[in-house]
């Protein structure tokens, strides 16, 4: 696309202002935004509200962590919203004790109900399968990720609608629901714990493992990676599988949180999630980005949505502001990075 300049956050930490800016641009932007909201509405900074924000972003966050892997290879996944819907329905059906009695209403205390972990496994299984299928189409049919996952977006949504036959599935057993609505250590919502745990895991994988380096290498220059002996196809397929894993996990947490799963769930998530990842400094051209950035990007969007609602900004104006802020956040990051190094 255009000649924007991006670069790895792993450059040696020097004491130059622009280097610092470049490294922490999204964080700085987030802090400025939060300060603004805190001044406009003091309730914004209450622990209750901050935990609300974190809980609200945790599902987007899980998806964004998976999407970071995909975008690092210069790929994209537009299908996740649909996949979340599909996987959530399957988890819900499992929790209700199978496909046949999925529409029974009630708290799911039926004898046939399966445990939450089986529901979670089912959701993740669906996610993995969906991701693998797409990764396969991308690497074997050589169709660009944008197109494959656009197709997947339509196909998985159709599958979800078919599965749900129009009705939401709701009312799960309490343990399942706890995964979405419970709290640990007094205040901390369970989805936040799940999000943080997997974000840390993903960070370690990307930063400290061979596999992580391979992802950066494939994203940075796929032909070079191939000639260096990396199995580029396997790496590319794997990131869609990972994305599928996170879609399944996210679907499970979402269903638990809503105590319900429906075929229209997740509509439009793909764009919000991609925006989070990019705001966090990951380059759409691949090879550059961190999980830390993605977490910041996700929180930034959550703060924006929450803050604007709290400040009672009209819904329409909210959309305008969000659009502008997304662009400004990335512009700020790009600017900081371009100043760090002469291109």
């Amino acid at each position: 696309m255009t000649e924007s300049v991006h670069s790895e956050a792993q450059a040696p930490a020097k004491t130059d202002v622009f280097g610092f800016l470049a490294r922490f641009a999204p964080l700085i932007f987030l802090i400025v935004l939060m300060t603004g909201f805190a001044i406009g509405e003091p309730r914004f900074l209450t622990p209750l509200n901050l935990f609300n924000i974190l809980r609200q972003v945790s599902i987007y966050g899980l998806l964004a962590v998976g999407m970071t892997f995909v975008i690092l290879t210069a790929g994209i996944d537009l299908s996740i919203g649909s996949l979340v819907a599909f996987a959530g329905l399957v988890a819900a059906a499992v929790s209700k004790g199978g496909v046949s009695n999925r529409f029974t209403v009630g708290a799911g205390q039926e004898a046939a109900s399966y445990g939450w972990y089986l529901a979670a496994l089912a959701a993740i299984g669906v996610g993995l399968a969906g991701g693998f299928l797409q990764g396969f189409a991308i690497t074997r049919l050589k169709v660009p990720p944008f197109v494959v996952t656009l197709g997947g977006m339509s196909a998985f949504r159709g599958g979800a609608l078919l599965f749900a036959a129009g009705g939401p599935i709701s009312g799960f057993e309490p343990n399942f629901v706890w995964m979405g609505q419970g709290r640990v250590l007094g205040e901390v919502p369970v989805p936040v714990v799940i999000f943080v745990a997997f974000a840390v895991l993903a960070h370690v994988v990307l930063r400290y493992t061979r596999y992580g380096r391979q992802i950066y290498a494939v994203g940075g220059n796929p032909e070079a990676a191939r000639l260096s002996g990396l199995n580029v196809r396997a790496v590319i397929t794997s990131v869609y599988v990972i994305m599928g894993f996170f879609a399944g996990l996210g679907a499970f947490v979402l269903a638990a949180r809503l105590n319900s799963a429906e075929a229209v769930a997740g509509t439009g998530y793909e764009l919000t999630v991609i925006a989070s990842v990019v705001i966090g400094g990951t380059s759409l051209f691949g090879g550059v980005g961190t999980i830390f950035g993605t977490v910041i990007g996700t929180i930034l969007i959550g703060v924006l949505l929450n803050g604007l609602v709290l400040m009672n900004v009209s819904a329409y104006v909210q959309q305008i502001i969000i659009g502008i802020i997304i662009v400004l956040a990335v512009a700020f990051d790009t600017f900081a990075k371009s100043r760090r190094r002469v291109g």
């Binding site: 450059a11 040696p12 061979r210 290498a217 220059n221 191939r226 000639l227 990396l230 090879g287 002469v342």
Partner: protein, 507 residues
Amino acid sequence: MKPLLRMSLISKRFPGVQALDDASLEVLPGEIHALLGENGAGKSTLIKILSGAQQPDSGTIEFGGQSVTFVSPHDAQRRGIVTIYQEFTLTPNMTIAENVFIGREPGLGVFVDWRKMASETRAITKRLGLELQPMSIVRGLSVAEQQMVEIARALSMKSRLIVMDEPTSALSSAEVEKLFRIIRELKAHGLSIIFVTHRLEEVMQICDRYTVLRDGRLVGSGAIANTTIDGIIRLMVGRQVNALFAHREKTPAGDVVLAVEGLNRRGNAQDQNASVLADVGFEVHRGEILGVAGLVGAGRTEMARVVFGADPFDSGRVFVDGRQVRIRSPQDAIRHGIGLVPEDRKQQALFLALAVRVNLSMASHQRIMRWGVFMDETAERAMVEEFRKRLNIRMASPEQLIASLSGGNQQKVTLARWLALRPKVLIVDEPTRGIDIVAKVEVHNLLFEMARSGIAVVAISSELPEVLAISDRIIAMREGRISGEIKGENATEEVLLSMMTLSAKAA
């Protein structure tokens, strides 16, 4: 002696070209083997097949006495065949250390040990005599430095055979010397090396045996000791070629066309405060060829880009025909009659997915327009035809994709793009990089013809014999400064080398 490698009757067809036609290659243990041929002869294709990057249509490979098939580069590497490809295979946004150890990172289990990776990288770059930080990002390195990183990577691998596809085309003589020293060391350890180059002096200097390909076929092989440069050229082109470097009668230089004063530019990847260009100034006259010599990273490319408006600068003045001009973009430069043939053909000059015709006319649309908006394709074809004849460009049709031309012919099209514009000044950066000896002579002749027609030519080259052969006057650069100037007829390699390596004050 039993050969280490025997490739027999290898064929490979690409749509439209038979790249290899029953080609064969034998490499003995512990020898340095030159693989030679014109542009498009099939050298790189043979190498890619050897390294598992491409699959042959037919033919067999024996390595170490065993018959092998490589379906991926990984297979070949496992057997100890390490390849430095002609096209760079670095990942620009990663560190040097990561690039060196890509896919083989040291560490425990699945984890990477960054510290160890950095120290091992440092050890190898030291051995190559490089002052590079293992943790700096590759994208900021110059072409030559990147080439050295490629070499460092190859050295870091366990290997029995190292294949080097034109490793020296981006290097100047000092780096070439360092590389040769290492190659000799490797040979002493019993490794074999396949060495591809278009600089035949290098072949004479370091290789033991040679194999020559022409049009994908094996046309000869033997010991270097039993042949001469002329003999090799004859094999390569299939006929007698007389002059290695063309000579020309010098014409008296005209007025000053381009003058540059006090050009400064700061900051590079490693150091914000380093000067890329410091107080650079020079003049070029009408009809003159000004050679620019320098070591890798001396700032020659940067100077050219700044003068052409491709990069910004901090201070300095540029004069064209005696009048000061503001150049802030390539468009400005073109408007003032300055052209640039960049150093990296693929990245900076070619539109690989477009036809030769479209590539050739890209900078001179004004000349072939109708009613101010439409392209006059008839005029355009005529223009292509004119240059095809004048520059002896070998192509099937003007509609052929430029990607399918040989390197030399691609370079001629790039030169033609600028000639079509009739510039006052043409800066050519490494104009013969990677092109074969015959094409090189043709390009030199072309530069002479340009000078004769009144163009002021600034020719940057890392090959000292080339600089000496074509220049009326030579300036040398070192660490972003002009470190010396000398008339072409007075210059020798030794003088130039000392100007390139001593500091400006001492010179």
